[in-house]
């Protein structure tokens, strides 16, 4: 049962409803940051207000003036409350995931420490050059930020402007507030399970062949069936998880991955680009596997850049570099470790 109070419920003529829709689409720029629009009930209230004021002006009846002033103050107070509501929302960058993976939705659900002024829903739209992030903030006694963050491709997206929009508290006005909140949204490639030759897949061997359960991660095609967490899969058949194990201390050695960013023959063409993306997906799979390891010294060489994952700053830089990686002409620096390369030297 819907409990809306949309004027459409009054069975208004369709022409009038279309006119309402036209008015609802209107947006008035109050300032560069603020825009004001109306909802259908808001249009109705405005029409009523106009009627009351005309009657008041025509007759000079001070009680009609009082009614008009009361209703007008109600409308202004609801706008004012909405302004305060939007201004009270803290910067949200800190709640944004450190990184997401391409073509994989990240479900954001976080409680914010905000003392809410009013109940209401706030749409949060974060604008980037290529893609917008749409979140929703639900305010009652607490503030809950929810949303689905999804990008189609890898990269670092510069989120600069953020638009907060709400029709709270009375559902009469659609108020939107655009503010500057810069954030680099790091989108990594979707990890690809890779079957390295040489010493086998060292990383995978570590996580799948250890003694102690380390954590779970989402199932990916190619994972051994024996490692699927079947008990968890029974409760949530839509998401399978794979168990990962900790290797013995003595087995942990200095791990090194060298990624050769050279693409043979061409750069930027379709076939080469696909291979390059696949290479990065493999690299990310390896890096992700080691991100939570504090004990081992893991080194990643990405073209001519070198990162030590145990260092938080370098870890961040590595993730960002992977997301932004472009084909290079030169071979990766250093020697040893596992080499991921598209080039047969």
């Amino acid at each position: 049962m819907t409990l809306a109070y949309d004027p459409a419920d009054l069975r208004l003529p369709s022409g009038l409803l279309r006119l309402l829709d036209v008015l609802v689409r209107l947006r008035i720029s109050v300032s560069p940051a603020w825009q004001l629009g109306m909802t259908r009930p808001g249009v109705m209230l405005l029409a009523v207000l106009v009627g009351v004021w005309l009657a008041a002006f025509y007759s000079g009846n001070n009680l009609l003036y009082l009614c008009g002033a009361m209703l007008m103050s109600l409308a202004i107070a609801s706008v004012w409350q909405a302004v305060r509501l939007l201004k009270s929302i803290p910067f949200l960058a800190v709640n944004f995931p450190e990184y997401t993976q391409a073509e994989e939705a990240f479900v954001l659900r976080k409680m914010l420490p905000v003392a809410s002024l009013s109940i209401g829903l706030v749409d949060v739209i974060w604008h980037a050059d290529a893609v917008d992030v749409q979140l929703q903030l639900r305010l009652d006694k607490s503030a809950l930020l929810t949303g689905r963050v999804l990008a189609g491709q890898r990269g670092v997206f510069k989120l600069r402007k953020q638009t907060l929009a709400t029709s709270a508290p009375l559902g009469l006005w659609q108020l939107s507030y655009t503010r500057d909140e810069a954030l680099d949204w790091v989108v990594l490639p979707r990890p690809v399970l890779w079957q390295a030759s040489m010493s086998g897949n060292v990383a995978e061997r570590q996580v799948f062949e250890g003694d102690e359960l380390r954590d779970l991660r989402g199932y990916m095609p190619g994972d051994p069936i024996s490692r699927i967490h079947w008990r968890k899969a029974a409760s949530d058949s839509a998401r399978w998880s794979v168990k990962r194990f900790e290797a013995h201390e003595n087995e942990i050695e200095t791990m090194k991955l060298r990624i050769d960013l050279r693409v043979p023959g061409m750069t930027g063409e379709t076939a080469g680009a696909k291979s390059f993306e696949y290479l990065l997906s493999q690299a990310w799979y390896w890096v992700e596997g080691h991100l939570k390891k504090d004990k081992s010294a893991v080194e990643v060489v990405l073209g001519h850049q070198q990162f030590e994952l145990s260092q938080p700053e370098q870890k961040q830089a590595c993730i960002k570099a992977l997301a932004m990686a472009m084909p290079q002409q030169t071979a990766p620096v250093g020697q040893g470790g596992i080499l991921l390369s598209l080039v047969n030297d």
Binding site: G60, G120, A168
Partner: protein
């Protein structure tokens, strides 16, 4: 439980809130005397049952629309029977309210209630001018706020949003009312048409028509207010003294018809249009006051002694040569008139000389003539003879309920020697005429009561009075033969409470119903003069607030003269004695300052640590200074 299972809890909450919105509208209309109580009582009863039984007590939309259509037909009939359009419209709205109170709890029902509630509030703005109107209006706004919050939460995906506590609305409501007050004052006033002005039922009176039956007038102690008179200006004390005990002249009745009086047709009538200024004398008026005249069934304007002029009359008037001022038709609402008066009694000079009806002694009963001759005795002057008659009459008993013979009322009054003012006045007029002095009866009001709380005069229905005007020495002179005991009677039950309530009502009339552009200008000028008077203080306060805010924002800290960071002071003292304490280095680890004995220093350090980290009282700068002086 069945209710909860059938309907979501949120709907029940919205249901009550929208019902409250609707009932606020019904309550506002219930204040109107034009609305039959039957209509709104039915709505309230249905609302109570609905609240008790919940949405289970409901009719389908089809059934309720049938009630609505029946109401439409009924109101059509009402219109045919002569009911006013606005009243018929509100009757229809109330029938509609009855239907939607018990309508099926569907989303449309919520919207119906809010819209009808709104129209009821608007209807009441035309059909009542009661000060109590502010209560349903304020509650309407509050419930609309809460109901919209609730329904808004339901409209969007956040349908399970809980309502905020009602206490959280207090601030926003206060802000809304303040803003509404500001808008009310600031917005310009126009007055193109008075059709939608608030109306009030016309007060039923007797004695203010062209023909009056003796014995009907001024017989009850009715506390209903007829006039409210407030000073225009600040001279309240002077106003009170000068307005006390004034006669408010209404209609003069000249032709005696045996059992009553009849007005003489006016020979010369001057007409005055709305907004014009009526000037009655050439004397310069020196007392300005505003009179609020309640709507009544007669068109007469009551004017006090010595009326000089009426400025900006609120409706068209005509003034006859016998001194009666009347509107062209009885006004349907309260009117405010600003009057200016001169000295008491000056207002009668402009009235015309007596006409034949005021002189003729033909209809005077024989018993009255005999009585007059007997009482007047051998006095020569008319004034002295009338004085004796009046003195005789004043000695009789005042009785509101005295019985009399309807055929010969004056004769029965003479026999009983008791009655009310109408008999006293009529007897004196007839007696004067029998003695050859032209005279007539005047009906109006006398005196009134001073409201100390509000600083204004009230004239009630119980102050209705008859007196006599006699033509002596070329002008009309007033004689009042009614015994003074008349004015000790009052029908007001709770005087103290009534005084406060009347003050509230006059404030409502003055500052809400009669608010005009000129009032805003006056308020603005008062505000400016207030600013000028207290400019220095205002500037000081604003500067202080601004400075305080600036300091707060810049996180400024006042120098701590008496407490606070003593380390800085101590370090300064140590440096002078060759010790450079590192940051966070405990005092016990610093080397011995030059010129200080070790034992003394150790005691000092111990005292320092006790006050800094222990349970001893914290040192102030003065304490530290004292300890350091002791060390040196």
């Amino acid at each position: 439980m069945a209710v909860v299972n059938m309907y979501p809890t949120r709907l029940l909450l919205a249901e009550r809130l929208t019902l409250a919105v609707l009932l606020s509208g019904v309550a506002s209309l219930a204040l109107s005397d034009f609305v039959s109580p039957l209509y709104w009582v039915m709505v309230v009863l249905m609302a109570v049952v609905r609240l008790w039984r919940g949405p289970l007590f409901s009719l389908t939309e089809m059934q309720t629309s049938m009630i609505g259509w029946a109401g439409f037909v009924w109101v059509g009939l009402e219109l045919l029977l002569g009911r006013a359009l606005v009243v018929a419209f509100t009757d229809f709205l109330l029938i509609l309210s009855l239907a939607i109170v018990i309508e099926e709890a569907v989303p449309r029902n919520q919207l119906h209630r809010m819209l009808v509630g709104f129209f009821l509030i608007l209807g009441a703005a035309v059909l009542t001018d009661s000060v109590l109107y502010i209560i349903p209006l304020a509650s309407f706004v509050w419930f609309v706020w809460r109901a919209s919050q609730c329904l808004y939460g339901m409209q969007l995906p956040g349908g399970d949003l809980p309502l905020t506590a009602w206490r959280s609305d207090v601030r926003i409501l206060f802000g809304m009312f303040a803003m509404a007050g500001l808008l009310f004052v600031l917005l310009p006033r126009f007055d193109f048409q008075s059709y939608l002005k608030p109306v009030q039922p016309r007060m039923q009176t007797s004695g203010f028509s062209s023909q009056v039956q003796l014995g009907d007038f001024a017989r009850t102690l009715d506390a209903t207010v007829v006039l409210r008179v407030e000073p225009v200006g600040d001279d309240h004390k002077n106003f009170r003294n000068r307005m006390m005990g004034r006669y408010w002249r209404g209609i003069s009745l000249s032709t005696y018809i045996g059992n009553g009086w009849k007005e003489v047709p006016e020979r010369r009538v001057s007409h005055w249009q709305k907004g014009s200024e009526v000037k009655l004398t050439d004397e310069a008026p020196d007392l300005k006051f505003a009179v609020y005249r309640e709507a009544s069934d007669h068109p007469y304007v009551f004017v006090p002694d010595g009326l000089g002029k009426i400025t900006q009359i609120p409706a068209a008037m005509r003034i006859g040569d016998q001194g009666s001022i009347r509107f062209t038709s009885p006004p349907s609402r309260r009117l405010r008139m600003v009057m200016q008066s001169t000295g008491r009694g000056a207002g009668l000079k402009h009235l015309r000389a007596p006409v034949a009806q005021e002189k003729e002694d033909g209809p005077v009963p024989k018993e009255v003539a005999v009585w007059a001759e007997k009482i007047a005795g051998d006095e020569v002057s008319s004034e002295a003879r009338l004085g004796r008659l009046m003195a005789e009459l004043k000695g009789w008993e005042y009785d509101l309920n005295a019985s009399f013979d309807h055929e010969t009322p004056i004769v029965s009054f003479l026999r009983q020697k008791r009655g009310h003012c109408e008999f006293y006045a009529s007897t004196l007029v007839l007696a004067a005429r029998s003695l050859g002095v032209p005279a007539r009866v005047v009906n109006g009001y006398y005196g009134g009561e001073w409201n100390e709380t509000g600083g204004f005069y009230l004239v009630r229905q119980q102050h209705a009075h008859s007196w006599v005007e006699v033509w002596i020495d070329g002008q009309w002179q007033r004689f009042d033969p009614t015994p003074a005991s008349r004015w000790q009677l009052s029908g007001v039950r709770f005087p103290a409470l009534d005084e406060v309530w009347e003050t509230v009502k006059l404030s409502w009339y003055r500052y809400v119903l009669e608010f005009q552009d000129s009032d805003r200008n006056q308020a603005f000028q008062s505000f400016i003069s207030l600013l000028k008077t207290y400019m220095v203080w205002i500037v000081l306060i604003i500067s202080g607030v601004v400075l305080g805010l600036f300091l707060k924002r810049s996180r400024f800290r006042f120098p701590r003269f008496f407490s606070g960071d003593l380390y800085a002071m101590l370090d300064g003292w140590l440096i002078k004695r060759g010790v450079n304490r590192r940051c966070h280095q405990p005092l016990r680890h610093v080397s011995l300052p030059k010129g200080i004995e070790k034992k003394q220093w150790q005691m000092f350090v111990q005292s320092w640590e006790h006050q800094a980290y222990g349970e001893h009282e914290k040192w102030s700068r003065w304490d530290l200074k004292r300890h350091l002086r002791a060390l040196s």
